[in-house]
């Protein structure tokens, strides 16, 4: 089996301690949680951090809680917990949809949402989920916290705004007060169970009195990072959802993504698939919203 190059290791005992260590190592250290993104890269010697800070003991970062206007998810929350969360199933079934098709059940026992978002693989599903849900993430550094929207979060493939001396600590999903029917869904096509998406789409829609009060549409695996399909959102915002509009949104998604050809597929197929996934996610999200609406 391939093995990593040597590195230093510590087990963080607090969030601030982990951050202090990051700062002290001045860019040569990486946080490791589940490790199922980072360790394979280290075994292939594609990533060679000099020091790892193991945050698996930081239980204070593992939670899914409801406040008055948000669901807050600790960055260390494991995929399996997100997949089976009743709270998320009620408000954001898009998370459960995505989790069911992220990696495999055993990997999901260890991988975390924080790890997935920070790895920022363009084909990574939770980034699209968070983008569609208008999520915000909390990044803590030595000087305190900052809250960042998903559009700002990704800089490029494997690159986020989390600095060398910072840590992602929390993900926040909005909860709207009263009346609004809320629905969300994630649709993914892959070559085989457990594989990365060839293309995937996340949709979150808030429907008020039959029209779309707000909507988020984001795509995985068809751009250098998550593709936020804002043109399709504009089309649907304020409109009555219809199959005709979903058809138009599908075309926009196909046009506005930027896939590259690789082993999973050529550009034309990926564009087509991005559209299909968007349309299916729109249908399912809307249906869920409408069954919720009072």
């Amino acid at each position: 089996m391939q093995t990593p190059a040597p590195f230093g290791y510590e087990r963080a005992t607090s969030v601030d301690g982990a951050i202090a260590s990051l700062v002290a190592h001045d860019g040569d250290a990486r946080i490791i949680a589940g490790g199922h993104s980072l360790l394979p890269m280290m075994k292939l010697r594609l990533a060679n951090p000099e020091h790892l800070i193991d945050i698996n003991d930081l239980d204070e970062l593992s939670y899914i809680t409801e406040t008055a206007d948000q669901i807050r998810i600790g960055a260390l929350t494991r995929h399996v917990e997100l997949q089976h969360s009743e709270l998320l199933a009620r408000y954001y079934p898009v998370v459960g949809d995505a989790e069911a098709v992220i990696a495999d059940p055993v990997v999901r026992n260890r991988g975390t949402i924080g790890g997935s978002l920070c790895q920022a693989d363009a084909a990574e599903d939770l980034s699209a989920v968070c983008s569609a849900c208008h999520a915000q993430v909390v990044i803590r550094g030595a000087d305190g916290e900052r809250v960042v929207g998903m559009d700002e979060f990704h800089l490029g493939p494997y690159m986020t705004v989390v600095g060398d001396g910072e840590m992602l600590t929390e993900i926040r999903l909005p909860l709207r007060a009263g009346g609004s029917g809320m629905g969300s869904a994630h649709e993914k096509t892959e070559r085989r169970a457990g594989d990365w998406a060839i293309a995937a789409a996340s949709v979150a829609v808030w429907i008020d009195g039959g029209t779309v009060a707000d909507i988020g549409i984001a795509l995985s695996a068809v751009g250098p990072t998550t593709v936020h399909v804002s043109r399709a959102e504009e089309l649907l915002r304020g409109a009555t959802p219809s199959e005709e509009l979903f058809e138009q949104a599908r075309a926009i998604a196909s046009e506005d993504c930027a896939p590259t050809a690789d082993g999973r597929g050529p550009v034309d197929y990926k564009r087509h698939l991005a559209g299909v996934m968007t349309q299916r996610a729109l249908r399912r999200a809307t249906a869920r919203a409408l069954t919720q609406e009072a």
């Binding site: 391939q2 085989r192 060839i198 050529p266």
Partner: protein, 795 residues
Amino acid sequence: MATTAPNLPSPEQERPIGFGRLKRKEDARFIRGQGTYLDDIRLPGMVHGAILRSPYAHARIVSIDTSEALALPGVAAVVTAKDLETLGLAWMPTISYDTQAVLAGDKVRFQGQEVAFVIATDEYIARDGCALIDVEYEPLPAVVNARKALDPDAPLIRDDKDGQVDNLASPTWEAGDEEATDRVFAEADVVVKRDIIYPRCHPAPLETCGMIADFNPKTGQLDIYNGNQAPNVHRTVYAHVAGLAEHMIRIRCNDIGGGFGNKVPVYPGYVCAIAGSIVAGVPVKWIEDRSENLMSTGFARDYIMHGEICAKDGKITGLRVDVIADHGAFDSTAQPTKFPAGFFHICCGSYDLEAAHVKVKAVYTNKAPGGVAYRCSFRITEAVYLVERMVHALALETGEDEIDLRMRSFIRPEQFPYETTTGWTFDSGNYAETMKVAMEIAGYDELRREQAEKRARGELMGIGVSFFTEGVGAGPRKHMDILGMSMNDGADLRVHPSGKAMVSISAQTQGQGHETTFAQIVAEELGIPPEDIQVRHGDTDRTPYGLGTYGSRSTPVSGAAVAVVSRKLRDKARLIAATMLETRPEDLAWEKGRWFVKGDAEQGALIEEIAAYAYSGAPMPEGLEGGLDSQVIYDPPNLTYPYGAYIAVVDIDPETAQVTVRRFIAVDDCGVRINPMIVDGQIHGGLAEGIGIALMELISFDEEGNCLNSSFMDYLIPTALECPDFELGETVTPCPHHPLGAKGVGESPNVGSPPAIVNAVIDALHQTHGVDHIDMPCTPARVWRAMQGNAEPPQ
């Protein structure tokens, strides 16, 4: 007489003495995690090797600087081609009478080729050492497209070979009758042509390849631990290559975590480990990682085929095939010497053709060497894929049901033994009956009705059929040898004074259940319970010579050997029993477990009583030696010809083009079945591999020869979610020349399933999208492209 199998439960259930559904003896250690696989073995003083491999597909080696690696604490040695040259081991012979570099000296010729061997105190340091070796390369243009390998301007890959002026690895080999075939085609009512590729894939057993070589400089003994499928042949090869005395080499295979043909060749890592141990005088362990396995060990298939099929009066009459075989950078395909294209010429199929003509030539490319692997029965997977795809194409052309076309064209039962147009003599078969059983299990007519209904609703469902006859159990010594060694296998049987027995065989299990099935053969012949029979295998010091397990040859060859040796022993027992019972041998009859006096059943001798007698001081029959044992080397008179009818049902998502195998019906006729549970298990496993090959497995390269599928993230293997609940049926048409009537079955499912699945995909898309051909793997992207009318062959 029955004893409970040690360490295994459920004595209440019936345990057959002989053929039947006997649970496996070898399970006892595997379910406890107590198997002994290569990486489980630790020897005192053992060091570890790791291989530095070429990042380039084709490049001159300018320099190799090992100084930094040598300076790393824990690194004992760094071996390069120069060091091996002094031992005469820089190059080694291949099974195809070519040579292969053990470590690259002048050039590297495929990405992943072995360049240096680091020996260190542990595996982690050995790999660290590899990372410190500095190799300067001068990249050269690579030959990646086999179709272009013989272009006049193609770079010369094998400039190491005297007289090699191009990239031809093996000149055109022909079978059949060209003239007769031309005539038949000229007279045909309909002719269909297809370019069909069987892409490169890989057996990828779950346990990678590796070896522990332990040379004792004081005694000159070389002990080798190595999971390989042909230990005796390997021993002979090492004696020849390393100039060692063959009687001082011992190879022990222990438990092997899957072979599927991947563990047949001799790999450079093995030679490095042996050389390392000989020089250092300590055990050297080398185990490859998964990317090394996928990038450098024996791949499978890679046949670019042009097929033509013709019919007259509704019956298939002729077949013409022209093949370019991509053998990679060195020709290390494994097949009997006289058959450089293996058994590909069995592509005449299961049909009563009037004529056929087959041409195969092989080329070198800048890719890993290999080609014959992955349960292929020596290229029969390629052959059946070709003919069954062509039959389907013909049915598409004439607009008829593909089963009707087959039924009309099958070789009929009364025609057996049947001499095919390409030189095979098929032993026995009743093809129509097997096809009918498959149709019944599938509910074929109902499926067609369902398909029509779904099509009307815009849903895409496909039904695909394949019928195969393959030839296994190589082979008769007058026709077949590998590296000059006859393909005969031995069996030694010894019944102990207590009546318990030990049978030593040359077959080499990698999961096929030999410890159980071979005991069952002895049990069937002698009536000794299988739990009282030890099957010894996998140790060249303690087993007879034979060519090992691949090409489904265990049952046809070693199984026959064990039956014959058991009968030989039983005949000796008869003579002894006659003496014990004071009667003549011809007055005795046999029932399982005893010889008894005809007409006086009370008067008999149990086999264990005969054994006790034979070892005692009591008088033996005239001229007969004491003890109760026998020995045989079995020369099969012919191959055996198992066959089967397979039906695949697929659903295709009209928008995403994902293919789901909803049902797979497999009806196999492998003659008499020794253990139906194990036969079914073999079929399940091969069908899963066939699904992988048809839908997702591919070893591909970019223009520069970089391998694009060198991990399990990109070499996709089916999980439990991609495999349906297989539906199996059987017919039993015994093999007339095999002592047990058995034919062997291990590779049949790989042979038969890919064409059934691809035919199903085409069937789903033909009427609605006009698709009449698609190449494997039928990934969503490739299927979608085909639906758009843009089907392209894979890289």
